[in-house]
Amino acid sequence: MLDPSPQAGPGRSEPLLSAVSISKRYGDFLANDCIDLDLYPAEIHALLGENGAGKSTLVKVMYGLIQPSGGELRWMGQKIILTGPSEARALGIGMVFQHFTLFENLTVAENVALGLPPTESFGAISQRLAETARIYGLPLDPKREVWRLSVGERQRIEIVRALMQNPKLLILDEPTSVLTPQEADLLFVVLDRLKSEGRGILYISHKLEEVKRLCDTATILRGGKKVATCNPREETAASLARMMVGGEIGEVKAASDRSATIPRLVIHKLSLEPDDPHGTRLEGVSLEVRGGEIVGIAGVSGNGQDELFAALSGERRSPGEGTVVIDGEAAGLLDVTERRCMGAAFVPEERLGHGTAPRMKLSENALLTGHAASGMVKRGFVNKPATLAVVDRTTKTFDVRKAKRDPEAASLSGGNLQKFIVGREILREPGVLIVSQPTWGVDAGAAAVIRQALIDLASRGAAVLVISQDLDELAEIADRIAVMFHGRLSAPLEAAEATREKLGLLMGGADTEQPSAEQEVKHAVGA
C-alpha cells in the first residue's frame, strides 16, 4: 500500500505529465524536496497534504508559474521547460485556482475572453462559452456581471474557461473549499465526465472523504517530501490522515458536564448595509448564545459572515444599541475597546493584517487586543514586561513554536500564529468569544489544540460563537448550528439534527426566505 512507484496498469502506458525529482528552494527553506509524480490520462489523481506541505508549490511548478530549483518536468515523455502559464496552456495543461482571478465588474464572457488568446472574436467566445457550459452541465449566463454571482458560480467560470482550451490535464486547487456539499456533488459529476473523456485530473485537497470517493490515485506530501503514492479507496480516512500528519492526531474531547446557562450574547434583528459596494447586506440576523454553549455559523464564504463579524466585534457600529447585547448590556453602539472591556473577545478570520500586525513583534501583538483591559498600559505608558508575560503565558499554555522569545508575527507558521491569536484572547477569560474560521489553513495538530481550547472555554461558562466554513469542525465542537445565506441567518439546528444534507440545503438558500427572527425568538422562549 505504500508502494512509492506508480502502479502500472492498462491504459496507463505513458504518463501525460511527469515530475521527476522536483525541488524548489526558497532561501533556506526547501518547499519541495525531490518529488516524483506521474499523471496519467483518464485518471483523477489526488495531491494530499496539510497546509504548508508543498502542494501549491509543486502545482505552480507544473503550471509554469515558478521555476524548480532542481529536477525536471516531462510532457508525454519529452523533457519540457515551462517559462510561464501560457506555455503550459499551449501544451494542454489547464488550471483552476483556489483564489479566483476574476474581475468583479466585468461580465462572465468578458472575463473568459481576457484569459484567451485574442485571435477569436468576442461573439464567438461568448457562443463557445455558452456551449461548453451547456455540454458539461455548468449553467452560466455569459452576460452576467461577476459580482452578482455566488462563489460556486464563479468557480464554474474558472472551470469553463479552462475547459474552453480543451486541456489534456486539468489541475484543480482545493475546489470544494468554497462549495456547499450539494455543489461539490455537482462538481464531482463534471470531473467524472472529464475523466471518461480521457483527460487527466490533478485534484488538490486535504479533505480525505472526498478524495476516497473521487480519486483513483493519491500522492501524499508532508513537509515538502513525498510520503507515498497509494490507492485512496484501499485506505481508510484514518490511515490517510496518519500519512498526511505523520502521527496520530489528538482527539478533541467534549466536556460532558457542559450545560447552557443564561444568554450572554444576543443578536436581535441586526440589519446593516455593507460599507463595501460588493459586500453583503445583513438582514434581520437574530441569535442567542448562552453561557456554556458553542454555537456555529455555517455557510459559504461571502454570505455576510465578514459583515456579521465586524458588527459583533464593533469594528462597525450597529444601527441600534439593542441589536447586539453582551451579558445583558446593549452594546450595538459601542466600539471594539468598549466591548472588550465588557468581557468580549474576538478572533478574526485573517491572521496576518487583521488579527495581528505581521511586521510587529508578538509582544506588540499581545498589546493589540489587550491594551484596554489588562494592565498592559499605565498612564499612557506601555508596560513591556506585562506584554512579554502574555506572550510567555500564551506560548506555554498553547504550545506556540517560535524561533525566539519575541519574533515578528509574520515569521510564525500559520498554525502557531493562530494558536497565539486564539490563546491571547482565551487567556483573558472572556465571557463571550466570537471567532471566525478558527482553524482555516492550520495544521491538524494546531487545529485540535484550538478546538479543545474553545470547548474548555465554553465549559468554564463562556458563550462561544464560531463562524466557520468547515462543516466537520462545526460538527465536532458546536452544540447548535445556524446557517448564513445572503445576509440572513437561519434558525439554529441542534447539532444532532444538523446533518450535512440539511446544512447543505440551508447553505444553498433553501428555507431562509421566511423570516428567521421569529423562529429564533420562539426557540429562545422555549429554551
Partner: protein
C-alpha cells in the same frame, strides 16, 4: 535574468541601518560624476562640500543652526509618515508659526514688556502651526480630501499671506521700503549659547529635547504604538479599537506644532526679523531628513546634521568652486531617490542566479 529580488523572511535589521549609508555613498558617487562633468575635480569638490565645514568651530555651529529647524520639523513629520499620513505642508506650517509668533514681537516692539514675551511667542508659534495643520487634517477626516494636495497647497497660501504682512501692515517704517519687519527686541529673541562667538542658539537645545520626547512617545507609550500600528496594519489597528481619524488629527496637530515652533525659533533666533525669505525650504527638505533618518528620531537628528552639512558645504562650494548653489538641491534630490530605492533591500534581497536553462528549449 540572473539577478532577482527575493523576499526576506524577516526584515533585515542590518540593512535597515545600512540603507541610508549605502544611499549616501551612491549619492556621493553620483554627485562626483556631476562635478566631473562640470569640469571640477570631484575629490576637491567633495572635500569642500563634506569635510571642510567640519574643520572649524564656526562652521560646526552653523551646521547645528541649520539642522535645528530641519530636525524639529522632520521629527514631527515622521509621526505622520509612520502612520501613513502624508503631511507635505510643513513649509506652510513653519511660515504660519513664524507669523503667529512674530505678531506678538511686532506688537510689542520697542516696549519693555518682560521675560514672558519669548515663551509666549514660542507657544503662539506652535499653536499657529498646529491649527494651520489641522485644516488639511479636518478636510481629510470629514470630507475625504487628499491631505497630500491640501497640505501642499496651503503652503502657498501661507507664503503669500506672510508676503502681504511684511510688505503691508507689518513693514518696518525705518526699513527703506524693504519687505521686512523691524528687528526683534532682545526680549523677543532666542538667546545664543556662546555670547559673541557664533550663532548656536537655545533652539538647538529645544530640538534635542523634542528628539528625546518623541523617542519616548514612539517607543514607550500606547499613543506611539497606535501610530506605528495604524501605519503597519490599518485593518489590525481598527480591530485594535484605534480610530484612524483621531490619529490623523493628532499627528497633523503635533507635526504642525513642531513646524510652527521651528518657524518662530528660526525667526526669533538666527534671523531676528520676519521677511519673505525666512524659510528657504526647510519644510520640504525636512521630508528628505525624515526618510533619510528612517523615521526614527535619533536617525533624524543625524540625518538633519548631515543635510545641514550639505547646505553649509554648498555655500562654501559656491564661493571657492564657483558652482551654483542649486547643486545642493540636486544632491538632496539624488539622496532621497537613493534612500527610497535602498529601502527595498530591507524587505528584499538581491540574489544572483545561475540559470540551469541552457538545454531547455530543445525539447519544447
Amino acid at each position: 535574468m540572473p539577478l532577482v529580488l527575493e523576499k526576506r523572511a524577516e526584515r533585515s535589521a542590518v540593512i535597515a541601518v545600512a540603507s541610508p549609508l549605502i544611499a549616501i555613498a551612491l549619492s556621493l558617487v553620483t554627485i562626483a560624476i556631476l562635478f566631473a562633468i562640470l569640469g571640477k575635480s570631484p575629490l576637491e569638490a567633495l572635500w569642500v562640500y563634506f569635510v571642510e565645514p567640519l574643520t572649524d568651530g564656526f562652521s560646526l555651529q552653523e551646521i547645528a543652526v541649520k539642522a535645528t529647524p530641519l530636525v524639529m520639523i522632520a521629527v514631527g513629520l515622521s509621526l505622520c509618515y509612520i502612520a501613513n499620513i502624508w503631511n507635505i505642508g510643513a513649509e506652510g506650517q513653519f511660515i504660519v508659526g513664524a507669523v503667529c509668533g512674530s505678531w506678538l514681537a511686532v506688537r510689542t516692539n520697542g516696549t519693555d514688556v518682560g521675560v514672558w514675551l519669548l515663551p509666549v511667542m514660542l507657544i503662539l508659534g506652535a499653536l499657529g502651526g498646529a491649527l494651520y495643520a489641522l485644516i488639511p487634517a479636518i478636510c481629510r477626516v470629514y470630507f475625504g480630501a487628499s491631505e497630500i494636495l491640501t497640505s501642499l497647497m496651503l503652503v502657498y497660501v501661507a507664503d503669500f499671506g506672510m508676503d502681504y504682512l511684511v510688505r503691508g501692515p507689518w513693514r518696518d517704517p525705518q526699513g527703506l521700503n524693504f519687505p521686512t519687519t523691524a528687528a526683534f527686541d532682545p526680549a523677543a529673541s532666542v538667546p545664543t549659547l556662546f555670547e559673541g562667538a557664533g550663532r548656536l542658539h537655545a533652539g538647538s537645545v529645544i530640538a534635542l529635547v523634542v528628539v528625546m520626547l518623541v523617542t519616548v512617545l514612539l517607543g514607550r507609550t500606547i499613543m506611539g504604538f497606535e501610530i506605528r500600528l495604524v501605519g503597519a496594519a490599518p485593518k489590525a489597528a481598527r480591530f485594535s479599537g484605534f480610530s484612524a481619524n483621531r490619529l490623523v488629527l493628532f499627528t497633523f496637530a503635533v507635526s504642525g506644532a513642531l513646524a510652527g515652533l521651528a518657524g518662530i525659533i528660526e525667526v526669533a533666533g538666527p534671523i531676528g526679523h520676519l521677511d519673505p525669505g525666512v524659510s528657504s525650504g526647510y519644510g520640504f527638505t525636512a521630508i528628505i531628513v525624515a526618510f533619510l533618518g528612517r523615521l526614527n528620531p535619533v536617525g533624524i537628528l543625524i540625518a538633519g546634521l548631515f543635510l545641514a552639512l550639505t547646505f553649509i558645504g554648498g555655500e562654501g562650494a559656491q564661493i571657492s568652486l564657483k558652482v551654483p548653489l542649486d547643486l545642493t538641491k540636486v544632491f538632496q534630490g539624488i539622496l532621497l531617490f537613493y534612500v527610497l530605492a535602498c529601502d527595498s533591500l530591507i524587505v528584499y534581497r538581491v540574489r544572483y542566479i545561475r540559470t540551469l536553462r541552457k538545454p531547455a528549449h530543445a525539447a519544447a
